[in-house]
């Protein structure tokens, strides 16, 4: 992503090859001056970033090797014990499993749904601007507000959901919603879809608008039906956007916290706990900072490995296309 950009940056600075003796002196002076100026410009951002992003992550790595209650400086060095304990902890293994489940549900249900809505609202449909705005609106609400709202709507018996189901004779379909061990994840996923499908829909809409209409038009003239046009033209050209959407879904699932914390705090009996919730429980409720740091390091490593893998094998070939597409739609 970054490597292609050096070449086209130079002409901005270049003033053509300077003639005569100046050629020897100027570049060095200029280079030093440029370097200094550039450095000064990046300093505020760099300090902020190092102090509040890089250092904390490194510090978490250090603390994860200690048994530490969070006060004083860590002294009880335990090596990788926290990590071995982590991978024997059924709750944490459950976190990993639930994370995978959320990713699978997001990719298997939410993304296709968002795609269908994007295709639908990309057509000439009366009131489509209103629908677009409406479907995206929950994205601007905080997860806390969303969580509290739905914890009341899905309150067993007294909530709106059960009343509506009762009115149409489907009592008990939702079970206990958040309160049931087997239904809590499904209910959470329902809310996540309510809140986030509009976001993915907007991304996909932007991608759809970057596809030149001539292509589908030409295919139609050649006799391709709607499904063939979608399958063979729209979908492949939408590839970069879809892959980005997948990336964001996975990163989102790794860090899911607010919604779960507000609605269930990970319950009932850990059945909706995520890595971030477990980390919070151990770090700030039980004061096992070393163990909790080990969890954040694992989250960090999962994000890192996934992001590197994804950038290397999935996104790399897209970057150019994605950029040129975007320019078209802006």
């Amino acid at each position: 992503m970054a490597s292609t950009q050096i070449e086209d940056a130079d002409p901005i600075l270049g003033e053509g090859p300077p003639a005569g003796q100046e050629w020897n002196r100027r570049p060095l002076v200029r280079r030093v001056r440029d370097w200094l100026t550039a450095f000064l410009f990046t300093v505020p951002g760099l300090i902020l970033f190092l102090a509040f992003v890089a250092v904390p992550i490194l510090y978490a790595g250090y603390v994860s090797l200690f048994n530490w209650g969070g006060f004083g400086s860590p002294s009880d060095f335990v090596g990788v014990d926290n990590f071995t304990r982590l991978f024997q902890d059924p709750v944490f293994l459950g976190d990993l499993w639930r994370g995978l489940l959320l990713v699978a549900l997001s990719l298997g249900l939410q993304l296709p749904f968002a795609l269908a809505m994007a295709v639908l609202l990309n057509q000439k449909l009366r009131g489509r601007a209103v629908y677009r705005m409406l479907f995206f609106a929950p994205y601007v609400l905080s997860e806390v507000i969303t969580g509290v709202l739905f914890s009341m709507i899905f309150a067993p018996d007294s909530g709106l959901a059960d009343k509506v189901l009762g009115a149409v004779g489907l009592d008990g379909v939702g079970g206990l919603w958040f309160a049931g061990q087997s239904t809590v994840m499904a209910t959470l996923f329902l809310i996540m879809t309510w809140k986030y499908f509009g976001f993915h829909m907007m991304l996909l809409l932007a991608g759809l608008q970057g596809i030149p209409p001539e292509l589908t038009e030409a295919a139609r003239i050649d006799g391709a039906n709607a499904w063939q046009r979608f399958r063979n033209i729209t979908l492949p050209l939408l590839g970069p956007t879809i892959r980005m959407s997948i990336f964001l879904s996975v990163i989102g699932a790794i860090q899911l916290f607010d919604l779960v914390w507000v609605v269930t705090q990970g319950g009932p009996d850990h059945h909706s706990e995520t890595m971030a919730v477990t980390m919070f429980q151990f770090g700030f409720k039980r004061y096992q900072m070393g163990y909790a740091s080990a969890i954040s390091i694992v989250m960090f490593l999962i994000s890192l490995v996934f992001a590197l893998f994804y950038q290397r094998y999935v996104l790399r070939r897209d970057t150019e296309g994605a950029l040129t597409n975007m320019r078209g739609t802006r």
Partner: protein, 291 residues
């Protein structure tokens, strides 16, 4: 040529219209149904806020009778609610100014100077894109405690600004790179220093991009929960998400009142969305495609 293609176009157009009419009915129904599902929770909260809690359990679906305004008025008359709104605003503004300011400076250097280590720096910043906030929260808390930044708005503003940098730098750098180099040369020939070019020419030209990243920063800060929850133990600086969670715990049995509180808490975000819709959507699509 025109005589050849014209009939073809009218035929397909007519055919398309007919097919669209036939097909459009189920489409409209589908979209409308989803619209109803999306809107119901919000509308339900709004209407329930006008009921008393007793009314709510007996009459879930209907309109309130009588309309009770006490829930809303008592919250609006409570200084705690306004203080919460104020600190959310202050923190959002502080975060935005800091993020956009620092990111614009860095993006300028990364976009318009060729210097050793530039790609390393850019990679370092973009690496921040993939790390969830939750990963750093524990050590961040320890760090803030050491610096005495707990129960201090800076304790939320500084980390939020730092985590906002990667996305903002990526978007702004892309924008800055599209401004023609001739402009900079001309300015330099007229005796313009790098900073005054940045300040007087580049920033005014980048206003749309600055608007976009600012809107993103405001929304992110406004909705952040984990950090203010940890940093503010005293209600003085509670932001809206923290306040909502606390309110729910405090009045858990008074459902109607919580609904009213939710509606009033989401109103600023929805109003902001109505005003800044274009920048917000532009921002997320830009950020996602260019990140």
């Amino acid at each position: 040529m025109t005589t050849q293609t014209a009939p073809g176009i009218t035929m397909t157009a007519r055919e398309a219209t007919r097919r669209r009419r036939l097909r459009s009915f189920p489409l409209y129904v589908t979209v409308w149904l989803i619209g109803v599902v999306m809107v119901t929770p919000l509308l339900y909260a709004l209407i329930s806020g006008f009921k008393s809690t007793d009314q709510l359990s007996g009459n879930s679906f209907g309109l309130p009778s009588p309309w009770v305004t006490k829930n809303y008025t008592s919250i609006l008359g409570d200084s705690a609610f306004w203080r919460m709104l104020g600190s959310s605003t202050l923190i959002a503004v502080g975060t935005t100014v800091l993020t956009v300011g620092a990111a614009a400076l860095a993006a300028f250097a990364l976009a318009r100077f060729a210097f050793r280590g530039r790609e390393f720096l850019f990679t370092l910043f973009t690496a921040g894109l993939m790390f969830p906030f939750a990963v750093a929260i524990l050590p961040l808390f320890v760090l803030l405690r050491t610096f005495g930044l707990l129960d201090n708005p800076w304790g939320v503003i500084l980390p939020q600004a730092a985590f906002g940098l990667p996305m903002t730098i990526v978007i702004l750098r892309n924008f800055f790179r599209e401004i023609p180099g001739e402009l900079e040369e001309a300015a330099t020939l007229d005796g313009c220093s790098a900073f005054s070019f940045f300040w007087r020419i580049l920033l005014p030209m980048a206003r749309p991009a600055l608007g976009t990243v600012s809107v993103l920063a405001v929304v992110t800060s406004w909705n952040n929960f984990l950090l203010p929850l940890l940093v503010f133990s005293e209600p003085t600086w509670w932001t809206i998400p923290v306040g909502v969670q606390q309110f729910q715990g405090q009045y858990s049995s008074d459902t109607a009142r919580i609904f009213a509180y939710l509606v009033l808490s989401m109103a600023p975000a929805l109003a902001f969305y109505a005003v800044a819709e274009r920048q917000l959507i532009g921002g997320i699509t830009m950020g996602a495609t260019k990140g």
